[in-house]
């Protein structure tokens, strides 16, 4: 097989912005079946197959190597697998979908402004409260890596797939690790980002799988497409 597969977010603002970005670079992505179809093409490039996927699945499939390149968030590459960043190459940050993965604590925790304060609080939380400090997040991999680097081991994560910012008030967790672009949702829920609490700055990126089977011919096809987009695979 010599064709290559591009994965594009399947819906919403992210799909729109992705198609606009490709169009601005002279490649028009078509979706003949409309929003219910998951197969598309690029005008004038018959050997590129376009597939429409949710962004989190794009990250997963790029890491596994079942699709060749695609648009997804940097956060999803880091979250999907610890080996995610090593399994792909970021060909180009696209300048939209910007958001930070942050650690936020209740505003009322006036004694906690930095990660090192959190380390202190976590270290004796168990002896004070008979349980571990609980962190609500959908970013379990990123949280574990970041907290390990900060030397914090004494906590539990509580998986939260939506409305993470409500977890402290509902008693599900004590603090959160969440994604935010302006911080306003966190602030509205009485949460404050730690001064050194930005764990990852994310944005939509054009990402190339390193694990896809790259024959010389397929790699040449990819390089040609990337060149038209003003970038290269980086490997």
């Amino acid at each position: 097989m010599t064709g290559i597969t591009l994965a594009v977010p399947s819906k919403g603002r992210l799909e729109e912005l992705t198609r606009e970005w490709f169009a601005a670079n002279g490649l028009v992505i078509t979706r003949p079946g409309g929003a219910r179809s998951y197969l598309g093409a690029i005008e004038g490039l018959p050997d590129v197959t376009v597939r429409f996927f949710p962004a989190s699945e794009i990250a997963r499939e790029l890491i596994r190597g079942t699709i060749d390149f695609g648009v997804t968030g940097r956060d999803l590459i880091h979250e999907t697998s610890e080996s995610g960043p090593a399994s792909v190459s970021i060909a180009k940050p696209l300048g939209f979908g910007n958001a930070d993965v942050v650690v936020a604590v209740p505003d009322a925790w006036i004694d906690v402004t930095h990660m090192h304060d959190l380390a202190d609080v976590a270290s004796d939380f168990r002896s004070r409260h008979g349980r571990w400090l609980r962190i609500a997040t959908k970013y379990i991999t990123i949280t574990r890596q970041h907290f390990a680097r900060a030397g914090i081991a004494e906590y539990r994560t509580v998986e939260s797939l939506g409305a993470t910012e409500a977890a402290p008030a509902s008693g599900v967790a004590d603090i959160v690790v969440d994604i935010t672009s302006t911080g306003s949702t966190l602030a509205a829920n009485g949460l404050r980002v730690l001064e050194d609490g930005v764990m990852l700055q994310s944005e939509a990126c054009l990402v190339v799988s390193r694990t896809a089977g790259w024959s010389a011919r397929r790699k040449a096809r990819l390089d040609a497409v990337l060149q038209r987009l003003g970038t290269s695979a980086g490997f």
Partner: protein, 371 residues
């Protein structure tokens, strides 16, 4: 039941001809059986919660997890120590006990999940912790010698560091903060660097505790937070005031230098311990007892290459006394263990109970031979 040192087993193993994989494994099996201990065979499928509770998320990410129909989490056995110690506690603690084991454990690795064989011993509530640790070290060395490995041994002194920390000149509130970072060089370095920096500019007048508690309570109520389920207003106010006091009560520069100098000590054990003694003399610290304890174990280690690394400790705070790692020529850690007198309390025992043990990585030992 005190099996003592059983040096006869070591000799027995030492003279066996190392010929083939099956025989080596059989020899290891007999070594495990010969520990005068109960052979422990905990189930392969275990509740995951105790692991998260004991070791936190950092270890949790290494588990192979599955859930039952109610959503309760289980894991494939990731180690032997925890199920052995838990069942010992459940059976009613107090009696000295010894357990040995050999079998598969399961952990996530960078390149995918894996099944490994581990062998080891656990010595619980033994009357003499020194003798127990000697037996553990002897077991580990005997296991390695079956595979023809004369290891490099790295010793860490958790008890030694704790003794130093208790005596070092600093405000009390800093001691637990420093202890908490022992065994994590980057976090320790960040803390010491922070303490070495000039103190913050003096803050404004301290609010009264009462006013603080009232403010915090008001904020928590406004945000819909429970005042009792998580951190309470009192706890937050106290720690806030403590932080303010800590900014004023800096750790003296001489103490920071002592900690830096101490944690940097690493090298051949006799040389390193001499450095520790010199540092102790310079700072008028009484570290004789923990240093002598380490020296006592050296006799039993004979000709092995032994290093002491002052900053070396597992990150888990239930370790006490002495900890060790044995590495082979390829640099892999082949055996690790030590003393963990706080483990049983952490798992629900009502009083401290002496514990020591080690585990040996059988697959890595086999790789040493085939290399």
């Amino acid at each position: 039941m005190d099996p003592g040192l059983r040096r006869d087993d070591t000799v027995f193993v030492g003279v066996m001809e190392v010929t083939n994989p099956a025989l080596r494994r059989a020899n290891l099996e007999s070594l495990v059986e010969a520990q005068g201990a109960c052979r422990a065979t905990p189930p392969l499928l275990l509740s995951a919660d105790p692991y998260f509770d004991l070791a936190g998320e950092e270890f949790g990410r290494r588990l192979l997890l599955t859930t039952d129909t109610t959503g309760a989490e289980y894991c494939l056995r990731p180690d032997f120590t925890l199920p052995i110690v838990k069942s010992y506690i459940d059976d009613g603690v107090g009696e000295p006990a010894a357990f040995s084991y050999m079998g598969p454990i399961f952990r996530q690795r960078e390149n995918g999940p894996a099944e490994f064989d581990q062998a080891g011993i656990e010595l619980l509530a033994q009357p003499d912790g020194d003798v127990a640790l000697d037996q553990v070290l002897t077991f580990a060395r005997a296991a390695l010698s079956i595979f023809g490995v004369a290891p490099d041994i790295r010793l860490g002194g958790v008890g030694l560091f704790e003794a130093l920390l208790v005596q070092a000149d600093m405000p009390d509130a800093w001691r637990p903060r420093i202890r908490n970072r022992f065994g994590h060089p980057e976090a320790m370095n960040r803390l010491l660097t922070r303490l070495e920096a000039a103190p913050d500019a003096p803050r404004g007048k301290q609010p009264s505790r009462k006013a603080l508690v009232a403010d915090i309570t008001e904020q928590m109520v406004a945000a819909g937070l429970s005042l009792s389920e998580s951190r309470s207003p009192d706890e937050i106010a106290d720690r806030y005031l403590e932080q303010q006091a800590l900014d004023a009560a800096q750790v003296p520069p001489a103490t920071l230098k002592l900690l830096r100098d101490y944690l940097a000590i690493s090298g051949p054990v006799l040389q390193a311990l001499t450095q520790v003694e010199a540092l102790a003399a310079q700072h008028k610290l009484m570290l004789g007892a923990p240093i002598r304890t380490i020296r006592r174990h050296l006799d039993g280690l004979g000709e092995a290459r032994v290093a002491f690394d002052a900053g070396f400790s597992p990150r888990l705070d239930y370790y006490t006394g002495i900890v060790f790692e044995m590495t082979g020529p390829r640099g892999d850690i082949l055996a690790s263990g030590g003393q963990y007198d706080r483990l049983l309390e952490r798992l629900g025992a009502t009083a401290p109970i002496a514990a020591s043990g080690c585990s040996v990585w059988v697959d890595r030992l086999e790789a040493e031979v085939s290399a």
